[in-house]
């Protein structure tokens, strides 16, 4: 179990920005877009064999030529405002065939990523993921920001288009961040590093679909880029967003009209605490969720 460096750049207190796949691949797409935008350079990797089964074999003329594993790579860039380290993990190490890491392997992976951050003087870590929300897909997703220290709350409150867990009605500031995008920040806290998880909202009815949700990634990139003082080019995300939007609209047309009517109510729903009366009632929300569950349960049984 080790880390391989291709080069050891000299960096000054870099921020570590980390992405793994998750719901809608919101986090990894956001972080990878930022990495590409700043043209970060690859400088190391975590050796994959202890964490992953190979994903591809190449045999040519009867000879084993290559065995490919999910990649776990580090990149760096020095920007005007901040030095940055990126880590992109192609898969979360999972022992039970689940999509999210847990257990010993997850803890080992989190520590290896932080080992690299600490080696280069990192003091802060960002991760990103999905926030499954009662929103409509035509609504601009907000970003749920969760810091790993109380002292960071005020800073996070200043981010644009961002809310805290305590802003969400009925949650009392509680919640769970599944997998490594959450675990890493817990381990970072244990090791004395600041950490913030930025989760882009995805409509509840899209969480189970095997398609990305780049609109939420865009919201996350906007927050991160502002914070890091990086100029961003969102054209690649816009292209992807258009494609996905068409897929979602196609799907939406197939939904029975009574369910669609309920989903359309989400355009006017708010689930955050607010002074004004909500456009839809709690009872409406419950009905929407029940209809969504019923529809997608039926779909899944049919397939």
């Amino acid at each position: 179990m080790g880390i391989k460096f291709y080069q050891e750049p000299k960096l000054e207190k870099p921020d570590l920005i980390v992405g793994w796949p998750g719901i809608g691949n919101i986090g990894i797409i956001a972080i990878d877009t930022l990495r590409e935008t700043v043209k970060a350079e690859r400088f190391g990797e975590i050796e994959p064999w202890d964490f992953f089964y190979p994903k591809r074999i190449l045999i040519k003329d009867g000879e084993l030529k290559d065995m490919e594993f999910p990649s776990n790579k580090f990149y760096f860039q020095r920007t005007n405002k901040k030095d940055l380290i990126f880590f992109i993990g192609e898969e979360q190490p999972s022992e039970l065939g689940e999509a999210y890491a847990r257990g010993e392997k997850a803890y080992q992976m989190a520590n290896l990523v932080l080992d690299v951050g600490l080696k280069f003087g990192c003091q802060r870590v960002y991760t990103s993921g999905a926030a499954v929300s009662l929103i409509h897909h035509t609504t601009k997703p907000r970003v749920w920001a969760v810091p790993n220290r109380e002292e960071l709350i005020d800073e996070v409150k200043g981010y644009e288009n961002t809310i805290l867990m305590s802003d969400i009605a009925g949650r009392g500031g509680q919640g769970t961040i599944t997998g490594l995008n959450g675990l890493l920040l817990g381990v970072a806290k244990k090791r004395g590093l600041d950490g913030i998880c930025l989760m882009g909202e995805i409509p509840v009815y899209l969480q189970g679909f095997p398609i990305p949700y780049p609109e939420a990634s865009k919201s996350v990139v906007e927050v991160l880029a502002t914070k890091l003082g990086v100029k961003i080019d969102l054209s690649s995300l816009d292209d992807l967003s258009e494609q996905v939007e068409r897929q979602i609209e196609n799907l939406y047309q197939k939904i029975p009209s009574e369910v669609k009517e309920r989903l359309d109510q989400l355009k006017y729903a708010t689930y955050t605490k607010q002074a004004e009366p909500e456009p839809i009632t709690e009872e409406d929300k419950k009905k929407i969720m029940a209809d969504i569950d019923k529809f997608f349960k039926k779909k899944s049984e049919e397939s």
Binding site: Y53, K55, I57, L58, I59, K60, G62, E63, L64, M67
Partner: protein, 276 residues
């Protein structure tokens, strides 16, 4: 090494740079386990050690096979007379990299193993009356000439499709290459409708290669009898079931079956052979 808690040694073997044969308990056409059981029995191989399943198995209960409770086993056998080291195991559920390295650690430490052969079946869209072939994958190109001399196929091109994991045998071959151990994956073709039962013809063909390669002087009279019996059983089914007969005739003429037809043929054949 001997203190490694994963290893349990009953009796250290005395082999000189042996060849290591590896087979997995669950296999297409039951090829790997049947070849190994046959060799162990005929060559009088002795069990001498095992890898403990802790950390590699789920322990979420037990499997029942042929009415009997099973438990994961990963056992080494030695055959001094023929200088063979044999490993038969349930595939690990977790920690594949660690497990496969343990197999090679064990084999290299106790016996300085110098070559590896993995045994496996590969489902093929062929009829059971067609001659079997063994497809090979090597980790050193020098091995190909010897394999071709034995009539094995040595020119396979393959890239695993997206989402399909490489086999455990391929993974082991790759690890062996990293340790400079010459290795070969032997893939015996098995008609797809015999995948869940024994394909005795493929088993015999694989044993035939090993017999020549390691000069084992095995007599396959008993296997020939079993093959005749299996063919006789399949004939009974084709006489009783005209659809099955039609599908097999189509395969014999090189006509592809539809997915539904493949499924039906497999279901009928498996139920009939397992029932009898």
């Amino acid at each position: 090494m001997s203190e490694n808690p994963r290893f349990k040694i009953h009796k250290p073997p005395n082999l000189q740079n042996p060849s290591l044969l590896v087979g997995w308990s669950q296999d297409i056409g039951k090829l790997g386990p049947r070849v190994i059981d046959y060799l162990n029995k005929k060559l009088g191989a002795e069990e001498f050690g095992e890898i403990e399943p802790e950390g590699f198995s789920s322990f979420g209960g037990v499997q029942i096979e042929d009415n009997v409770i099973q438990f994961p086993e990963s056992k080494f056998y030695s055959c001094q007379k023929n200088n063979l080291l044999i490993f038969k195991s349930n595939p690990p559920r977790y920690e594949h990299y660690k497990f496969l390295n343990s197999v090679l650690d064990f084999a290299q430490h106790y016996d300085k193993v110098n070559e590896l052969y993995t045994l496996g079946g590969i489902a093929s869209l062929m009829s059971h009356t067609a001659p079997r072939r063994i497809l090979t994958v090597v980790n050193q190109p020098e091995s190909k000439e010897m394999l071709a001399r034995h009539g094995l196929e040595t020119g396979m091109d393959y890239e695993s499709p997206h989402g399909q994991m490489p086999s455990l045998n391929g993974f082991l071959l790759w690890l062996a290459k990293r340790r400079n151990i010459t290795g070969v994956n032997l893939w015996a073709e098995v008609p797809f409708y015999l995948a869940a039962v024994e394909d005795l013809k493929a088993i015999k063909y694989t044993l035939g290669f090993l017999n020549k390669r390691f000069e084992l002087n095995l007599d396959f009279g008993d296997l020939d009898l079993k093959i005749r019996q299996q063919n006789e059983r399949i004939k009974q089914l084709t006489e009783q079931n005209l659809e099955v007969n039609k599908y097999i005739e189509m395969l014999e003429r090189g006509i592809m079956l539809s997915e539904d037809e493949n499924e039906e043929l497999t279901k009928e054949m498996t139920e009939f052979l397992e029932g009898g």
